[in-house]
């Protein structure tokens, strides 16, 4: 573990930008008032929150009063899905989602199944895509919600959200999208795209961890999730995380203003990595659609080797990467996303996710493509699966 670290796991989380942290700091110590308080420092906190709300609204093409701050992307997902489910039980109990959602959506849907709701998990094709047609065909008279992620956290694939939004609107069914990975990478407009609810989380776009937001279109019938005080216009209780919200606001402003510049930088790093690795390393495949993918996302499967070993070796070489979703690294099961695109278990186990960001350079890619093939080679030499493969091919 040298001193230098090349961080290639921006889909797991991002560092807070200095200007974001700078904007946050005053709200911890001097401007620490409770936004519900009537006196000067309380009003100041309130104002800071409302300014952040305007920034989020601007980033999404929404109205400020359609933005509600939460404690995380997961909370936004839980709220959106359970909130719609419970508020619309009289209309139906069927929810449509996909097999490759983040666990914050999947496990929430599974929970609702245990509470008597019915969930359709749409399969995806070998590139990780669902189609608006599939969604349309899954709609039933009792469908109350469609929840489909904007961009996948593991394989980076971007779903046809506009088309799905159109179907949802035509059928008059609420449409939620988990855009946690999309913010700052994709231009989003909730009006044009017919999105009724949208989840986001600050720490994926250089804001702080532990603060998110949920966009709820005006008029959407949804119950509250956190009960208590009258914060967020009575819809989400808890003393507001003022500094966190200020950080989220600042971060989304920066992220969405320079989205094109940022993307072209990331695409260059991504594409070179994909090309070089596919060229240099045998028995490797790229997971997720080659073109409809997040600008910074690369996801490979290397046959005959296992992901954690690969990560540990990369870490020892100063490269921070991930195998599937960071959230699930506590589990030993192969990624549900990789299984959903049809990978066999043993190949899914050998996956590597590299996600580029702000601080990465072409030199980082140089280093990566120097180191990675050697590590793969070394692990394969240790692998009984590779030995078996070679033996079989000798015959």
């Amino acid at each position: 573990m040298g001193d230098k670290m090349i961080y290639l796991d921006h889909a797991a989380t991002t560092p807070v930008k200095p200007e974001v942290l700078e904007a946050m700091i005053p709200y911890y110590t001097q401007k620490f008032g409770n936004p519900s308080s009537i006196y000067a420092i309380g009003r100041e906190s309130k104002k800071a929150i409302e300014e952040a709300r305007e920034k989020v609204a601007a980033a999404l093409g929404a109205q400020p009063k359609e933005i509600f701050f939460t404690g995380s992307g997961s909370e936004s997902d839980n709220w959106a899905i359970k909130g719609i489910a419970y508020a619309n039980r009289d209309k139906g109990n069927h929810i449509i989602t996909t097999a490759i959602e983040h666990h914050a959506v999947l496990h929430t849907c599974q929970y609702l199944e245990s509470e008597g709701f019915e969930v359709t998990y749409l399969p995806v094709d070998e590139n990780g895509l669902v189609s608006a047609e599939q969604v349309k065909n899954a709609i039933k008279p009792n469908t109350i919600l469609i929840t489909i992620m904007f961009a996948n956290n593991e394989i980076g694939v971007i779903q046809p959200i506009s088309e799905i939004g159109k179907v949802a609107r035509e059928k008059n069914i609420y449409f939620h999208t988990d855009a946690v990975q999309a913010i700052g990478n994709i231009h989003i407009n909730v009006e044009d795209m017919n999105i009724d609810m949208l989840s986001l989380s600050a720490h994926k776009f250089y804001g702080p961890k532990g603060v998110g937001a949920l966009y709820i279109r005006k008029g959407v019938k949804i119950t509250s999730y956190l009960h208590g005080g009258a914060q967020e216009r009575g819809r989400r209780a808890s003393t507001e995380n003022v500094a966190g919200i200020v950080g989220l606001g600042k971060a989304i402003e920066i992220a969405t203003q320079r989205i094109d510049e940022y993307n072209s930088k990331l695409v260059a790093l991504r594409d070179r990595t994909i090309e070089e690795v596919l060229k240099k390393v045998p028995f490797v495949r790229l997971n997720g659609d080659r073109y409809r993918r997040l600008p910074g996302n690369v996801n490979f499967s290397f046959e005959f080797i296992e992901g954690e070993s690969l990560l540990l070796m990369l870490d020892m070489k100063g490269i921070a990467a991930s195998s599937g979703s960071a959230c699930t690294s506590g589990s030993l099961d192969p990624s549900h996303v990789l299984l959903a695109i049809g990978l066999p278990h043993e190949i899914a186990h050998g996956s590597l996710r590299l996600t580029f960001g702000e601080e990465n350079t072409q030199e980082d890619v140089d280093y990566l493509i120097e180191v990675l093939p050697m590590i793969v080679e070394r692990l394969r030499e240790m692998s009984p699966l590779y030995e078996a493969y070679l033996a079989q091919n000798k015959k």
Binding site: F304, I305, E306, G307, E308, S309, L312, M316, G330, S331, L332, D333, P334, H345, E346, H349, E381, M382, S383, P384, L385, Y386, E387
Partner: protein, 147 residues
């Protein structure tokens, strides 16, 4: 997460490789579950004089394989069969709870290699336990830390 000893055995695994014409070879685990351990033993006069392994698996799987080969060397077959998964884990200064099944795998790999040796030499105990090949992943994987 991993002890220094685990990381040492992962980074510099002892006895990686194959033994040509090994006296016993055992393979356990399941690629579906993400780990396979293959152990080669050279046995002379009932004593394990050399051991090598190949492993497809996580850091703990590699480290326990490495440690297991170290532990069996110089032992008689009977002594080697007494090596428990706890012993392997302890020799590595412990494993994270979620990784303890890897030490089971090492214990089983030793047993499987010795079974193979005995089978080849007509020494197979009729009552021998079967090794754990073909278990469902869920059996070993779905334990939450300490819960």
């Amino acid at each position: 997460m991993y002890s220094e000893k685990v990381m040492d055995h992962f980074t510099n695994p002892r006895n990686v490789g194959e033994i040509e014409n090994a006296d016993g070879v055992g393979q356990v685990g399941n690629p579906k579950c993400g780990d396979i351990m293959k152990m080669y033993l050279k046995i002379e006069n009932n004593v394990i004089v050399d051991a090598k392994f190949k492993t497809f698996g996580c850091g703990a799987a590699v480290a326990t394989s490495s440690m297991a080969t170290e532990l069996v060397k110089g032992k008689t077959v009977e002594e080697a069969l007494k090596i428990t998964n706890q012993a392997v884990a302890e020799a590595l200064d412990g494993l994270p709870p979620i990784k303890m099944h890897c030490s089971n795998l090492a214990e089983e790999a030793i047993k499987a290699a010795i079974d193979d040796y005995r089978a080849k030499n007509g020494l197979l105990d009729e009552n021998a336990e079967k090794n754990a090949c073909g278990r469902r992943c869920d059996d070993i994987h779905h334990m939450h830390e300490e819960e």
